[in-house]
């Protein structure tokens, strides 16, 4: 059931990011909501689930994005490894932990993309305007991100309480 929840949530996040947000023009310099999902997976889900869904999230992002295929998959895998490593030295229950991790994740994602662009593009030049965008993404991530991560965790717990197995047994 957790797999089902994760799949539904990833697709819902993607649809929100690609079809709802651009149409209602909620925000312009938005940060990538998928980062939060990766943070949630690494912090609260078991190992096998993390591997499957980190790859799936990256694959789905690469499918819909105009970037080179494999870019987001790579970013998420390395971010997941990085967070797992950092958790060895950080206390999981600390309130400050999640905003710090989200800040690091958004920053790392942006730096990785800039680095990849510099390698792929022949005449790469970093536009200072992008600084503004990255700062807005970081601010949004730090202030909104933790609430969304807790929201996903809360929804997951509620989802687990739902009597799916009983429903399936009755339907048989």
């Amino acid at each position: 059931m957790a797999y089902c929840f994760n799949t539904v949530f990833i697709v819902a996040f993607l649809l929100f990011q690609t079809s709802v947000a651009p149409n209602v023009r909620l925000y312009y310099d938005y940060f990538n909501l998928m980062n939060l999902f990766v943070v949630y997976l690494v912090l609260y889900r078991p190992g096998q689930e993390i591997i499957i869904f980190v790859f799936l999230t990256g694959f789905l992002m690469d499918s819909l994005s105009g970037g080179p295929f494999g870019l987001h998959m790579t970013i998420y895998v390395w971010l997941a490894l990085g967070i797992k490593w950092a958790l060895k030295y950080l206390h999981k229950g600390n309130v400050i932990l999640i905003p710090v991790i989200i800040f690091g994740v958004i920053l790392a994602e942006n730096l990785f993309i800039i680095g990849m662009m510099a390698l792929i593009e022949k005449n790469f030049s970093f536009n200072p305007e992008r600084f503004r965008s990255i700062i807005i993404q970081l601010m949004c991530g730090v202030f909104i991100g933790p609430f969304l991560v807790f929201l996903i965790k809360d929804l997951q717990e509620k989802w687990n309480i739902l009597p799916f197995e009983k429903i399936f047994k009755h339907s048989r």
């Binding site: 149409n23 080179p68 494999g70």
Partner: protein, 280 residues
């Protein structure tokens, strides 16, 4: 120590793989049947119908709001539009006269009319999930005649190029994406260069020789020399020019003529062969 070295090597090969994937992704090579070969197209098929449904629902709600609640302002606007229409009709008559004389002159000079291709309309159903890349998903695919590499335009000018095609949906790389380029000319001076996207939503007009006197406000159009975009499509307007002390080129910033944030419907320009196929 071994783990760190292994991870470092893994990361290195990973980066190399993406660089190769990135170069291949933006290359104009098309398979023999004209379809794209990317793995990502499979997921577009699954998600695009949901995107389409959501987009339609949101636009329906928007239309309901504008059409119902703003009826009062619509009536006022209607009056203004009637006046504008009568003026436009006069202008249209003038344009028809100009076109007729233009046609006569073209025949006389044995010129071909530049825009002779067929085009199909498509609706934008999704935008890029990453703020770093600029692409859209449209609701037309290879069953409608769309092929990888075809140009996408709107009445205001050139918009982008098809980079991924599925049966009913396609992905379009917009001109403001850093990986987009279009061969262009300045309409007044006929100075030729390459328009490239930049991350701030403007274009950079590259490789324009210093000898050309480009001015702010000059219109930039497609040259048709890239073999993708038809000649004469509006691309943008010159915003600023920088001439450095050294170098043979000038740096020109161009404001796009298309508002890429509000794209809703686009036209895909079909190749000549399709048109001839239809005719035969």
């Amino acid at each position: 120590m071994v783990i760190i070295v292994s991870l470092g090597l893994l990361f290195f090969f990973n980066v190399i793989a993406i660089v190769i994937s990135g170069r291949h992704y933006y290359s104009p090579q098309v398979s023999s049947n004209g379809h794209s070969q990317g793995t990502g197209r499979y997921f577009i098929v699954i998600v695009a119908p949901f995107q389409k449904g959501l987009t339609h629902t949101i636009r329906f709600a928007e239309r309901l709001w504008t059409e119902y609640f703003y009826l009062v302002s619509a009536a006022k606007e209607n009056e203004e539009l009637k006046i504008a229409l009568s003026k436009a009709l006069e202008k249209n008559n003038e344009c028809m006269e100009t076109e007729l004389s233009n046609q006569r002159l073209r025949t006389f000079l044995n010129f071909q009319k530049t825009m002779t291709n067929d085009a199909i309309a498509a609706q934008v159903i999704g935008k890029d999930p990453s703020p770093w890349f600029k692409s859209i998903i449209i609701d037309k695919g290879f069953s409608d005649g769309v092929r990888k590499g075809l140009p996408v335009v709107i009445p205001e000018g050139a918009a982008g190029q098809i980079i991924e095609v599925t049966k009913h949906y396609s992905k379009v790389l917009l001109l403001i994406d850093r990986n987009s380029a279009i061969d262009s000319i300045a309409q007044r001076t006929r100075a030729r260069g390459i328009i490239r996207g930049s991350s701030d939503g403007r274009f950079i007009f590259q490789y324009v020789l210093r000898k050309y006197e480009i001015q702010e406000g000059d219109t930039v159009i497609s040259s048709g020399l890239d073999g993708i975009f038809p000649k004469g499509l509006k691309v943008g307007r010159v915003q600023s020019i920088t001439q450095k002390n050294s170098g043979i080129f000038q740096e020109i910033v161009v404001i796009p003529s298309v508002d890429f944030e509000t794209l809703e419907e686009v036209m895909i320009v079909l190749p000549h062969s399709k048109q001839h196929g239809k005719g035969s």
